[in-house]
Symmetry: C2
Subunit: 146 residues, 2 copies
DNA sequence: CTAAACATTCATTCGTAATACATGTTATTT
DNA sequence: AAATAACATGTATTACGAATGAATGTTTAG
């Protein structure tokens, strides 16, 4: 279970902008700071603009900045717009589901509930909080690797 | 955000065995019932055996059956053993993390908490419950597709 | 001894995330 | 008006790992 690097990069861009709220930042500056592919960031920034998280301006002295205050944008909201999907099981997508027991097993609703719990946590946190130093780690339940 | 088909198939195998608790079932029977690749199931079953979820017996009249009662095996436990990892962000794996802000941002702890909430829900449900008909859907928080 | 079953390893396919590239559009500056 | 610096947008390529396939080994019942 992973988020895409795309979501990861999207959050990093918004975090950087949160630190410099109000200022205009260029993609090149972001790529240099994070030491990641400028080409990939181009797409990430483009998408963030389309979804209204950032305001973009072209031309000389152009760049990007947060379109809304950092304390009004939740992490959950961002992730919902950047992840391609949240289809945990085959049966989550009725278009492609071919499982023969979809109608008689309740795994789907269990995973639905788990997914909701996941998103709910992320909806409680804003970019402003994420940009602050981590207060502690919430890893109360250890994850075992198979 | 997805689980692997491998985890999906693992759960399906255990669900089938839950329905036939005590009986011995062959991989071929499972593949026929679910109409999925027998080769893939071979691996799934092998892994479930290694991790103690099922008891396997070779030779004529061999097969597999649950190694523990269905009501004692939680969905969360299974998923933890079948998913390759739960590394939601690059910074989740210190071995490969190259993010330059890992130490000053708190996204990691937020995602940790969300992940714990996710697993916690799945730890509440057993295979016995999953094998029963779904009572309802818990989809309280709608997921938007980017 | 044979057949039926799982055990185990290796090889291949395939989807898609990740990346790279090329060209277009806009706006500022001189 | 021209040059430049920035984002916009679409296309192509690469790379990784999940998914699948195949082959051989081992065990057990009859």
């Amino acid at each position: 279970m992973r988020l895409t690097l795309y979501s990861d990069y999207s959050l990093r861009v918004l975090l950087y902008l949160s630190h410099k709220e109000g200022e205009t930042v260029t993609i090149t500056e972001l790529a240099d700071f994070y030491k990641i592919s400028r080409n990939h960031l181009v797409k990430v920034v483009h998408n963030l603009g389309i979804n209204g998280f950032i305001a973009t301006s072209r031309g000389k002295h152009g760049g990007i900045r947060l379109a809304r205050p950092a304390h009004e944008i939740t992490v959950g909201e961002v992730v919902r717009y950047t992840e391609p999907d949240f289809d945990l099981l085959e049966c989550f997508n009725p278009e492609t589901d071919q499982c023969v027991i979809t109608n008689t097993c309740s795994l789907k609703s269990m995973l639905f509930e788990a997914r909701s719990a996941f998103i709910k946590v992320l909806d409680r946190y804003t970019l402003a909080e994420a940009a602050a130093k981590a207060p502690s780690e919430f890893r109360s339940i250890p994850i075992l690797q198979g």
